[in-house]
């Protein structure tokens, strides 16, 4: 599903700072991979490369059979719109939309009609336990609830890949545990492939495979 080969990226300076070089990764369809790493190790950059938000200095990124290097910015944007879902550390739900409208946003961008999209939104909100909060505004929700909205939004358009960047970073341990469990259950139910980057070994523990990002590449993380 995701194939990274010989991937190199240097953070433009000054002075330029190599993040990784010759990195390879293969993630199978439906697999849940967690990537651990220190701050500044390039975890988020790696996600951006997989999402087509950034371009590598060398190497190739193929996601769901699409070689991102063959696409221009608009092409990569369309690819992301159709095939990628995101979950962020700071939730990033739009404050001026209701919970349901936030979840429906990827559908709207993909041109899915309300008639077709509304049942999917309702089903996903039920799945994340927010079926009764559809009309609420984000300011009326807790952090954990906001992250559930983000998970629903990440999955509503049935993406091939979900990329999660520190999704539990702003949550207390208990809520964090429930969120990663929910994320795992939901993506597994939707048969999506997941790459989760995190500091938290507890969060990473739910993954099928846990890797660590180092200067010399991705290596299996030692057991906690």
């Amino acid at each position: 599903m995701i194939r990274l080969a010989g991937l190199s990226r240097t953070f433009p300076g000054p002075p330029p700072r190599p993040l990784f070089a010759g990195l390879d990764l293969h993630v199978a369809h439906g697999e849940f991979v967690a990537i651990l790493g220190e701050s500044g190790s390039g975890k988020s950059t790696l996600l951006n490369l997989i999402a087509g938000l950034d371009v590598p200095d060398a190497g190739s990124v193929v996601v769901d059979g699409v070689a991102l290097s063959a696409l221009d910015d608009d092409g990569r944007t369309r690819f992301r719109r159709e095939r990628v879902g995101f979950v962020f550390q700071a939730f990033h739900v739009l404050p001026y939309l209701t919970v349901a409208q936030n979840v429906a946003l990827p559908l709207a961008l993909n041109g899915v009609s309300n008639a077709e999209g509304d049942p999917r939104v309702a089903a996903l909100l039920d799945a994340v336990g927010l079926g009764d909060r559809a009309a609420n505004r984000p300011r009326e929700l807790s952090g954990g609830e906001l992250q559930r909205v983000a998970i629903a939004r990440a999955l509503v358009h049935a993406p091939a890949v979900v990329l999660a960047d520190e999704p539990t970073g702003n949550l207390d341990p208990r809520t964090a545990a429930s969120i990663v469990a929910l994320l795992r259950d939901t993506v597994k139910r939707h048969e999506a492939t997941v790459v989760l980057v995190t500091h938290s070994r507890a969060a990473a523990a739910v993954a099928d495979r846990v890797l660590e990002l180092r200067a010399d590449g991705l290596v299996p993380a030692p057991p906690a």
């Binding site: 944007t77 369309r78 719109r81 159709e82 962020f88 990033h92 739009l94 946003l105 961008l109 300011r139």
Partner: protein
């Protein structure tokens, strides 16, 4: 770190982060201050020059006796001079001399040099020999007159007398005020050459030491014929000042409007800056900054903008004033102070006044945002992400509705001291009320907009519907600017349209001739009148005598127009308002009074009025009201035959000619030139008069158009700065949308759509408000300021073009802001704290 240091740090941070908006707000305050100071300075310079002119030309006179434009019996002078309390009296003949090949006139005073020497020495010429003072062919000119005419001592000066020429040799100069254009000749020569035999225009009187001026004034008043008044010289200057007050106040109000717009921009800037820093302020409050300290801090921010704007404004105002004086003249093109060339002086009082107003306007703009910041609960505000709650305090509609109700309540109240105080008050209330209602109005309009199909545009609408507060705050200045521009456009169009219609009605003849105005040196005698009527190609001729008479001692004079007219069909010649009143046999003869006359002297149709004609008060019946855009202080039309019977004066100033079929205006012009000499009579067709009148009108309103354009430009720049700030503040949102699959173009389109929607709201509200304000301008402000009524005329095409242009500009502005905001790495913005 002291509180002061904290304050400094916060201020530095605020101005540093909002450079664009801070600059716009500062410039807008500067503009308001500059306009106010410049207009005030120019007006003061004109009035000071006029007052000084009156003082110098009145010399040591304690009292001045003044009569109608064609003068009064010189026997009055003899009677006054003999009074025991009179030390000296100096008779003067005043003539506005037409100058061949010149558009303007030169004031010529005929004086008795010996008498003038003891009352008004500045009117005694200085030349090579004293004998020149007594010679009828000698004239003495002020330096300004010599300069404007391009003459020197020893040259000759030709002026029109009747339809002929009077030639004088310039024998010397006068000690007149620097800017005053005036000439002096011997009084006997003036009487003889300008057809004023046995008549004088004024008498300057110096009292004996110890004489009580008021007692003597009362004694003199008993000797005076009707229409001749006695006053102190300073009262003359005060009257001139009063005549121009409404015009000056209107200009001052325009300047204050600019300051108000500046205040709104400070409000927008501060409101948005406060919202952006809610969390910072909450932190400071949590750390121990009191509410009062926070308010003081934010008001200090506003005051800092005000001080910068005011300093800049005063400097710019002084430059502007000198430019205005040079380009438009002392009256900004309105024609009140012809003959004056005032010098500009820096006025510390005026500078202090407008600088203070500028600072107060900026503080007023910062007031509401400061209160909001202080009111916010630190615990809630420190959690960022709910900026819109900062605008919930503006959600109450009561203050806005109260302002609108107050406007309705006061709009129809009568003027105060001749000024439409309540009209202005109503306009201010309407503006403030509407701005206070903006969040509600915006929500109501946005809810009614259909939800677009395109997701980016739909998102734009969702964003605005959910958070109209921030958008409407950015709109305050543009709504005010649009409303004022629209109202002025409607008022000016109504005025122009009414003026054009009035000209069409007032100019029914084919050709018009003019020998001179009310106190002019040009006139036509009966022989010349008959000669004109019998010129080849002339089918019909009507003549008019124009005079200026004083109806009441303490009021400026009014024009008396003695016209040839058919009493039964007067409505054909006069722009009557309403139906004419028929004057029954036995009633005093008919007089048709202008609206201004009717307002000033409370004369209604059917009433009897007394007009001083031929030195006697003559009763007339008001046979109708007419619209007159030419004379602001009022005018009365009477039949010329009645005037001739009363006075024996059979001279005329103007002629209206109807041509025979097949006759051409050019042929008649050639015949007139052949008979009277080239350029002795002003010759014009109605089309030419119409074109010149409308050109003068447009020139007069050029200042207004310029101010409107500046207000709109400032509003747009302010809107752009606000859009930019709002867009920058939403970079993380754009980052998220980029993650979710929106292209840069889609985000640009979304922001452009937001800009278009917000501007549409501002435009709709501005148009409606502008329409309402225009009604007040047309029916209250103009009527009460200038006593001019007009028919409402909405320039739909002009407004539509204006609206489209503004909408396009605002959308482009939003797009440019979006470009700036989405340039660079919006993706990285997602990682910033939300």
């Amino acid at each position: 770190m002291t509180t002061l240091a904290v304050a400094r740090a916060v201020l530095r941070g605020a101005f540093g982060a909002n450079r664009g908006r801070t600059l716009v707000a500062t410039l807008s305050i500067a503009l308001g201050v500059a306009l106010g100071y410049a207009i005030g300075t120019v007006n003061r310079a004109a009035i000071a020059e006029f007052t000084q002119g009156v003082a110098t030309l009145s010399g040591a006179a304690d009292l001045v006796v003044r009569g109608p434009a064609d003068g009064f019996d010189e026997g009055v002078f003899v009677r006054i001079a003999r009074m025991p309390a009179i030390a000296a009296a100096s008779p003067i003949v005043e003539v506005d001399a037409r100058l061949p090949s010149h558009d303007d006139t030169l004031q010529i005073l005929g004086v008795d040099a010996f008498r003038a020497a003891s009352v008004t020495p500045s009117l005694v010429g200085r030349g090579a020999t004293a004998l020149d003072l007594l010679r009828g062919d000698r004239a003495f000119l002020s330096p300004a007159a010599l300069a404007s005419l391009g003459r020197a001592v020893g040259d000759t000066l030709d002026v029109q007398a009747g339809t002929g020429l009077a030639t004088f040799v310039i024998a010397g100069t006068l000690d007149a005020p620097a800017g005053r254009r005036v000439g002096v000749v011997d009084i006997a020569a003036a009487q003889e050459r300008f057809g004023r035999l046995g008549r004088v225009s004024r008498i300057d009187v110096r009292l004996t030491p110890g004489a009580d001026a008021e007692t003597v004034r009362a004694s003199i008043a008993t000797l005076l014929p009707a229409g001749v008044v006695v006053a102190r010289p300073d009262e003359t200057a005060a009257m001139a000042s009063r005549m121009t007050r409404a015009y000056r106040v209107n200009l001052d109000v325009l300047a204050l409007v600019a300051l108000f717009t500046g205040s709104l921009l400070v409000f927008s800037t501060q409101a948005l800056a406060v919202v952006r820093r809610r969390a910072q302020f909450a932190l400071l409050r949590t750390l121990g900054l009191t509410r009062r300290q926070l308010i003081a801090l934010l008001l200090a921010e506003g005051a800092a903008l005000g001080v910068a704007g005011a300093t800049l404004g005063i400097a710019a105002g002084h430059v502007l004033a000198s430019l205005v004086l040079r380009v438009f003249g002392a009256d900004l093109g309105a024609g009140y102070f012809r003959g004056e060339a005032p010098a500009l002086a820096f006025s510390p009082t005026s500078a202090a006044l407008f600088a203070t107003l500028g600072v107060l306007a900026a503080i007023a703009g910062a007031w509401l945002p400061a209160l909001e910041a202080a009111r916010a609960s630190p615990a809630a505000a420190i959690k960022a992400g709910d900026d819109e709650s900062a605008f919930r305090g503006m959600a109450s509609s009561r203050p806005g509705i109260a302002c609108l109700v107050a406007a309705l309540a006061i709009v129809a109240l009568p003027p105060v001291g001749g000024l439409p105080v309540f009209g202005y008050g109503a306009i201010a209330s309407m503006l403030v009320g509407t701005l206070l209602l903006m969040p509600r109005l915006a929500r109501a309009l946005l809810v009614r907009m259909p939800r677009p199909r395109r997701p980016g545009v739909a998102l734009a609408l969702d964003s605005l519907r959910a958070a109209p507060g921030q958008a409407t705050v950015s709109l305050a200045a543009i709504v005010a600017a649009v409303a004022l521009a629209v109202s002025m456009a409607i008022m000016v169009a109504s005025f122009r349209d009414s003026l054009a219609a009035w000209l069409d009605r007032m100019l029914p003849a084919d050709v018009y001739l003019r020998a001179g105005g009310a106190s002019s040196s040009g006139w036509l005698d009966p022989d010349e009148r008959r000669a004109i009527a019998s010129l080849p190609g002339v089918r019909q001729a009507e003549f008019m005598r124009v005079l200026r008479i004083t109806v009441r001692d303490d009021e400026p004079g009014v024009a008396l127009l003695a016209r040839d007219l058919d009493r039964a069909n007067a409505a054909d010649r006069i722009a009557l308002i309403g139906d004419p009143v028929s004057v029954a046999a036995g009633q005093p003869p008919a007089a048709w009074v202008s609206e201004a006359y009717a307002d000033r002297f409370r004369a209604s149709p059917g009433a009897t009025i007394l007009l001083p004609i031929g030195g006697r008060p003559i009763a007339f019946t008001v046979a109708g009201l007419w619209r007159d855009y030419a004379r602001q202080t009022g005018a009365v039309i009477i039949a010329r035959d009645a005037y001739v019977r009363l006075t024996g004066d059979d001279r005329v100033n103007d002629a209206a000619l109807w041509l025979a079929p097949g006759a051409s205006a050019d042929a008649v012009r050639a015949a007139v030139d052949a008979r009277f000499g080239k350029d002795r009579l002003t010759f014009a067709t109605p089309g030419e008069i119409r074109a010149v009148s409308l050109a003068v009108f447009d020139r007069t309103f050029a200042v207004t158009y310029a101010l409107e354009a500046v207000a709109i430009a400032i509003g747009l720049v302010g809107l752009s700065a606000s859009f930019g700030a709002l867009a920058l503040a939403r970079r993380r949102e754009f980052g998220v949308l980029r993650h979710l699959g929106m292209t840069r173009r889609q985000i640009g389109a979304m922001l452009a759509a937001e800009g278009a929607m917000v501007s549409s709201v501002g435009l709709v509200v501005g148009l409606v408000l502008g329409g309402a304000i225009s009604l007040v301008l047309v029916h209250v402000v103009n009527r009460q300021s200038f006593r001019w009524s007009m028919d409402l005329h909405v320039p739909w095409a002009q407004l539509a073009a204006f609206s489209l242009a503004l909408l396009a500009l605002a959308t482009l502005t939003a797009l440019a802001s979006a470009r700036r905001a989405t340039a660079g790495d919006t993706v990285a913005a997602v990682r910033e704290d939300w």
